[in-house]
Amino acid sequence: MPSLDTLYSATLSGFETAHGGFVQVALAVSAFLFVVGAVGVFVRRNVITVMMCVELMLNAVNLAFVAFSRAHGTIDGQILVFFVFTVAAAEAAVGLAIVIALQRNREDLDVDSFNLMKG
């Protein structure tokens, strides 16, 4: 009787050749999470939640980078993720500083109330 492990590795090797394995699933998850984040930017009213949805989109893109890095067997995707991390950290720092300034000056965090530059 074959052990569960050999049985599974047989199906897995078939899966790897047929579908590219994890990479395809990771890219699909990445696309879905990006769309979810993009919808969240429009649906949510709180500025902080909108920023968190942007972070979710950045994370989805990171997943795509890592998946492509695996598919092509190169390191470039992982290095780009490294740069995305640093830019996201800078963006979060400045964005949250702006949120604090908004709260101090307007005492409101609703995105619909910020229409100073509306034409």
């Binding site: 994890f22 395809q24 290095i79």
Partner: protein, 168 residues
């Protein structure tokens, strides 16, 4: 082997579910905790895809530093639960278009990814460091990153600082 598959698909399901929670919660603090769960499960997926270094960075930098900053600001400002929808029906339109876009993009990506090459090879953190520093390809971008972080730090301090009463 079997553990890899279970871990990867489990992390994928958790990432999708908690990603939806981030968007559907009305309270920012619930969104923030869901986002931490998303990031940790994405870190598991990174590790399963063979990027252990990026997985560690994801937990330390994203789930650690950035999300702590978010939680800190949410608690500092005592952000309340949202009430009502966005003005002008933007929210409902975004959900309707988002469902269509999600189906389209997942189908297209799924079909396109079927023809990707499978040149997987094991990489370590040393490979990432070598890719960053061994050639000038990413070296100047890396140096520019330090300037970016410095200017972001100065900008954050300037923006968030309390204005002194100068007759304003």
């Amino acid at each position: 082997m079997i553990l890899d598959v279970i871990l990867f698909y489990g992390a994928a399901i958790v990432a999708l579910a908690s990603g939806l929670f981030v968007v559907s919660q009305r309270s920012p603090i619930n969104s923030a905790f869901s986002l931490i769960v998303t990031m940790c499960s994405l870190a598991v997926m990174f590790a399963m895809l063979g990027s252990a270094f990026i997985a560690v960075l994801q937990v330390v930098v994203y789930a650690g530093a950035i999300m702590v900053l978010f939680l800190f600001v949410i608690m500092l400002l005592n952000a309340k639960q949202e009430e009502g929808e966005r003005a002008g029906g933007i929210g409902r339109a975004a959900i309707a278009l988002g469902i269509i876009l999600a189906i389209q993009s997942v189908v297209v990506v799924w079909k396109g990814a079927a023809n990707l090459p499978a040149n997987y090879r094991e990489t370590t953190s040393a490979d990432v460091a070598r890719g960053l520093f061994a050639s000038p390809r990413f070296l100047y971008a890396f140096e520019a990153t330090s300037i970016l972080i410095l200017s972001a730090m100065v900008g954050a301090i300037v923006v968030a600082r309390k204005e002194k009463d100068t007759g304003k």
